[in-house]
């Protein structure tokens, strides 16, 4: 396959994969995690429901693992291609652009660690995914800080990415609609961060 010829398609796929399925999965993940606020039993029940989804490994592979690996690795290449200049051109949009790349790296490291130590450890070493497992992880204050940073980075990357997704697909064309999209994405960032942090603290 001639990659240069498929350039437009690959870039569009990269843009789409960030929202569908990855963004959708992120929202589902944060909402299900917030069951921790209802106590260990509610959380363990929610995990059990997810683990009982038919064809789970296939679903996880096709809708989560492969899109994230593609989005993450191709995204690294996009991060490398930019030569950031926020100090000379200090416009807020340029900062959003820069932060999108900073959070991309943080999110990639966080997601790799997070999925290796939990989901992959579960598959390889039979680690039980439960409220108590998470309590053990998060009772280390450094781990809590790492999780909060990882959460904020991934939520920012998703919320800001959603606003630029709308530009990339030609939905928000004029400056007004683009500004509205930035405000909405800011509200999304605040609400998802709030849900995520509440869920994290509920474990300890």
């Amino acid at each position: 396959m001639d990659l240069e010829k498929q350039h437009y398609f690959i870039r569009k796929l990269h843009s789409m994969s960030g929202v569908l399925p990855i963004g959708l999965f992120l929202m589902e993940h944060l909402i299900v995690n917030s069951f921790s606020m209802r106590g260990p039993e509610a959380y363990n029940n929610a995990v059990a429901v997810l683990q009982s989804i038919p064809f789970l490994p296939v679903v996880e592979l096709l809708l989560i693992a492969i899109p994230i690996i593609f989005h993450g690795l191709y995204g690294l290449w996009i991060v490398y291609l930019a030569k950031n200049n926020v100090l000379s051109y200090t416009y807020y949009r340029n900062w959003l652009f820069y932060l999108q790349r900073v959070t991309a790296i943080i999110t990639l490291i966080f997601v790799a660690y997070h999925s290796y130590t939990l989901r992959i450890a579960n598959a390889l070493f039979g680690l039980e995914i439960s409220f108590n497992t998470m309590t053990a992880v998060l009772s280390n204050p450094w781990m809590m800080v790492f999780y909060i940073v990882g959460l904020l980075a991934s939520v920012y990357h998703f919320a800001n990415g959603l606003a630029t997704f709308l530009i990339t697909w030609g939905v928000t064309v004029g400056p007004f609609s683009q500004r509205v999209a930035v405000i909405v994405s800011g509200l999304l960032f605040i609400s998802l961060s709030y849900i995520g942090i509440q869920a994290l603290f509920a474990f300890i």
Binding site: H7, Y8, K83, N85, N94, Q100, G170, G174
Partner: protein
Amino acid sequence: MPEYIHLKIKRQDGPKEPSRWEEFKIPYKPNMNVVSVLMELRKNPTNAHGQKTTPVVWDCTCLEEVCGACTMLINGKARQACSALIDQLEQPIKLAPLTKFPVIRDLQVDRQVMFEHLKKVKAWVNIDGAFDLGRGPRLSEHDRKVAYQLSRCMTCGCCMEACPNVNSKSDFMGAAPLAQVRLFNIHPLGKMDKNQRLDAIMTKGGITDCGNSQNCVMACPKNVPLTTSIADLNRQTTLYSFARFFNR
């Protein structure tokens, strides 16, 4: 009133030569711009330490901010030297060549790549025929307004200079040629080759390489609606790509 104008100029003797900073002090006169200061400097090319030096090389043509030739970095930002008024600039005034184009000498750069991009995206209207085709269709007032805004682009390179995605690592063509695609896709005759232009920007270095930092529209001295044009072309290419696939 200050006695002199303090300049710091990034000099380079040739395309492959190393660069260096040289300071100059020019006797103050009111209402000067960067071009007139550089002209003054040329009369007596002596640096701030009193040493004789070569005259500073730069480009300029129109002197009224419509040609784009005198674009350079003035105190770190890309703009035209002719419309940069000394009395409004913080001193020492730092002049440097644009960083996204090859330097020819001193402040003069080679912006040929911008012309190559315009050729690549077919930024023209095909009108040649064997006989007179008569008058073309009229433009609506709305389209005329948009087209006029887009037609003010002078290919100065400010948008490329400010864009983080335009650099030696990437092939991105920047905002200017994309806005011209929008212009010629609005034109009633240009529309006939609409899809060819979209094909031309749906390649490596084309529309998808925009990262929405939106510096271009802030840097543009002619207020060309660059980001609106890019988003509009995103819509055009999205719809076209679906049509192209599903009609196959």
